[in-house]
């Protein structure tokens, strides 16, 4: 009885594939059943068995429509924690980000600031990404909805919509945005690929760019480029609804990490409500001086 049912299901699956893919059923593409069955979970949540020969690897996730990219990933609210006690200005985050997004050589979406808040306070290194504010000043001023806030908290840019007025750049207090003053020189095949608001590739002449929190990576259950590139585990990425953040090797409850290490956000007084939190540079892993270009043993990227 059970065998009967499963073979019927396999037949239906095969028939569906044949219908969807007429090329498969004729000529050299015709597939012979191997007899080896594989158990699968259907989209309805049913367990089904399919002959291995009918399985084809999906090259990548199906491309998202612009409307889906503008909505974001349902049920998520992304958050980043940057641990200043671990940063020594290595710059791998910046390097991998620039490379992954094929940025113009002048551009850095991640900037590493040498900070000193007062005359007698300690200097420290502060990497900044886009803050993905919950009350984003850049989104408020955009006249054409080219930069927008998604349900998952990400502030993204539609380079096919941007008119290049640069009001968002004036509005952002974190100076996180860059502008493609000339053709960014994106290499092929990226340059001719259709622009995606999730990968922010390819950057286009006359439009604004900035850190996008890499939702294309997140959809593949991967971490943003900066998080995985940092050798010191400075960047933690996660979901505030799940209350967890990870740098790839360590995972923390977000709320506990922020509570125990006195996390804070930049320019809280402006009311922008950033999604990026900072852990203060206490009990540092490295002395500040080790990050100065003159003393750094690893060569800074460029």
């Amino acid at each position: 009885m059970e065998d009967n049912l499963s073979s019927r299901r396999a037949f239906i699956a095969g028939g569906l594939m044949a219908m969807l893919n007429p090329g498969c059923s004729s000529g050299e593409n015709s597939i012979q059943p191997s007899g080896e069955k594989v158990k699968l979970l259907s989209v309805d949540g049913e367990e089904i068995e399919v002959d291995r020969a009918f399985l084809k690897p999906v090259p990548d996730l199906p491309p998202l429509s612009n409307a889906e990219e503008r909505v974001g990933i349902k049920g998520k609210k992304f958050v980043m924690v940057i641990d200043l006690a671990r940063c020594k200005n290595v710059g791998k985050c910046r390097e991998s980000c620039n490379h992954a997004h094929a940025l113009h050589p002048d551009h850095n979406w991640i900037k590493i600031y040498q900070m000193q808040d007062g005359d007698h306070t300690a200097p420290y290194w502060q990497p900044t990404t886009c803050m993905h504010c919950d009350s984003p000043p850049c989104v408020k001023v955009c006249p054409v909805d080219a930069t927008f806030k998604r349900e998952d908290g990400i502030v993204a840019i539609d380079s096919d919509r941007c008119i290049g007025c640069r009001f968002c750049m004036a509005a952002c207090p974190y100076t996180t945005r860059v502008f493609n003053w000339e053709d960014p020189g994106v290499p092929e095949p990226l340059a001719s690929q259709h622009y995606s608001c999730e990968s922010s590739i390819p950057q286009k002449k006359g439009t604004v760019g900035k850190c996008d929190f890499c939702p294309d990576k997140v959809r593949k259950d991967e971490l943003p480029h900066c998080v995985t590139a940092c050798p010191n585990g400075v960047f933690f990425f996660g979901d505030i609804i799940e209350d967890s953040v990870t740098n790839g090797t360590e995972t923390f409850r977000f709320s506990e990490l922020i509570r125990d290490k006195a996390g804070y956000r930049l320019m809280e007084d402006l009311g922008t409500k950033p999604s990026v939190y900072y852990l203060p540079p206490v009990d540092r892993n490295f002395p500040f001086e080790s990050g100065l270009p003159s003393t750094q043993e690893t060569t800074t990227p460029h």
């Binding site: 001023v141 919509r161 100076t175």
Partner: protein, 438 residues
């Protein structure tokens, strides 16, 4: 006094009738056309290579295009000042100046719109402003009010012109064929009947009332492009009033300059008289005082506190990199012209002209100083950018385009003055008749 001597209607018409360019006029027009063409070539380069041909970079992302825009919007406010405010205040003396003021207003607002398009990284997507409008963006508000202001200004130029068009149409042999066609197209329907005049006068009064709030709005919204951000130097509740007072001042200065030049080159001594310079000079003194008052508020109050983000910005203006321009704009653009025009001798045409020039030049620098220094003083220190991003001095393309747009404004004014009477003919005749009857 000269202005009381009665003139015959024929004399008024022949004095004020649009004249062919003389040698100076032709050279001047040619000069403006050349400057415009150089600007157009620079813009062609910008379209081809992108905004990289400018010196704008990520920190200073708005430069002289935007300061030119603010300057043009400011100077266009003069239309509402002279035409509407003075008319409603029953200041009859300003009648001969209304057309000059409206010509300046219309041409400046045209180039304000053009220079904004020049500043766009993707000008071909301009239509998105209408197809993907977001009403919460101050840019959208600016588009709405500037187009409204343009239409009202155009009407305020056109409606008072109708009786003059009748005069022009009644002398077809004095005009070239091309001009006759323009005059007929614009004014053939106008017969000057009592009913037409009543409708026209009522419309003008209505538009004069309407244009005042719209004028206040265009420059207030323009100031909000800056004041709605967090940046030191822009984050100010004073900005709307500060911009409007500055706009009236530069507009007043521009009228002084235009009065002098038109009077001299078109022989209008009987129409634009010492009395006009005297009155206009007084108006400019008042406006300079008003603008100074807002400057005191704008700079001294933050300077008293010296909040950390403001500190660097203010120091650069008062005694740093921008101090020369800053004090030039204050002293040459406001204080010196104010002192010149305070004295009766200073309100004679020639010194008043120079006071006007100082006001206008100072105002241009002032707009630059409002836009650019703020962008060089961000909250976070400047880091991780190439050396060229840390400073701003406009490239030759930017200068060429900015100067081209200034020349464009002057060219439109020059051409309008070639086609239409600079001083309203009909109104001059009626007022002259009224004088004679008294």
């Amino acid at each position: 006094m000269k202005e009381h001597s009665p003139l015959s209607t024929e004399k008024i018409i022949s004095d004020l009738y649009p004249k062919k360019f003389g040698r100076i006029g032709r050279v001047w027009t040619l000069f403006l056309v050349i400057v415009c063409l150089i600007g157009a070539y620079a813009y062609y380069r910008q379209l081809r290579y992108g905004l990289v041909v400018t010196s704008l970079r990520d920190y200073v992302s708005w430069g002289i295009y935007i300061s030119n825009f603010v300057f043009f919007v400011a100077i266009s406010l003069v239309g509402s000042l002279i035409t509407a405010i003075l008319r409603l205040a029953n200041a009859k003396w300003s009648t001969p100046l209304t057309r000059i003021a409206e010509m300046i207003a219309v041409s400046a607002i045209v180039f304000a719109s053009l220079i904004i398009i020049v500043d766009m990284g993707r000008p071909e997507r301009l239509v998105y402003i209408f197809t993907h409008t977001r009403i919460q963006s101050p840019i959208t508000w600016d588009v709405v009010v500037i187009s409204t202001y343009f239409v009202i200004s155009l009407l305020l130029l056109y409606l008072p012109l109708l009786p003059d068009l009748q005069i022009l149409n009644s002398h077809p042999n004095r005009n070239t064929g091309f001009l006759n066609r323009i005059y007929r197209f614009l004014g053939a329907f106008w017969k000057g009947t009592r009913e037409q005049e009543a409708i026209n006068n009522r419309s003008i009064i209505l538009l004069c009332i309407l244009i005042i709030p719209v004028a206040f709005t265009i420059h207030t919204v323009t100031s909000w492009l800056f004041a709605t951000t967090y940046r030191p130097g822009w984050d100010s509740t004073n900005f709307g009033a500060y911009f409007i007072s500055g706009a009236f001042l530069v507009g007043g200065g521009a009228v002084l300059v235009a009065m002098y030049l038109f009077r001299k080159f078109y022989g209008l001594q009987n129409y634009i008289t010492y009395r006009h310079f005297d009155n206009m000079g007084r108006v400019v003194v008042m406006l300079a005082l008003l603008y100074l008052y807002f400057n005191v508020n704008e700079y001294l109050v933050p300077a008293f506190k010296m909040k950390k983000p403001e500190e660097h910005h203010l120091e650069e203006l008062f005694s740093g990199k921008f101090s020369l321009g800053f004090w030039f704009a204050i002293i040459v653009g406001m204080i010196i012209p104010m002192f010149i025009l305070m004295f009766k001798k200073g309100r004679r045409p020639y010194p008043a002209f120079w006071a006007g020039v100082m006001v206008v030049v100072g105002a241009w620098f002032k707009r630059y100083l409002i836009v650019t220094p703020t962008l060089l003083h961000p909250f976070l220190p400047m880091a991780d950018v190439p050396e060229s991003y840390l400073n701003y001095f406009p490239s030759w393309e930017e200068w060429a385009i900015a100067m081209g747009s200034l020349a464009g404004v002057l060219l439109i004014i020059t051409l309008l003055a070639r086609v239409f009477p600079i001083v309203p003919m009909h109104e001059s005749i009626t007022e002259n008749d009224a004088h004679q009857e008294n």
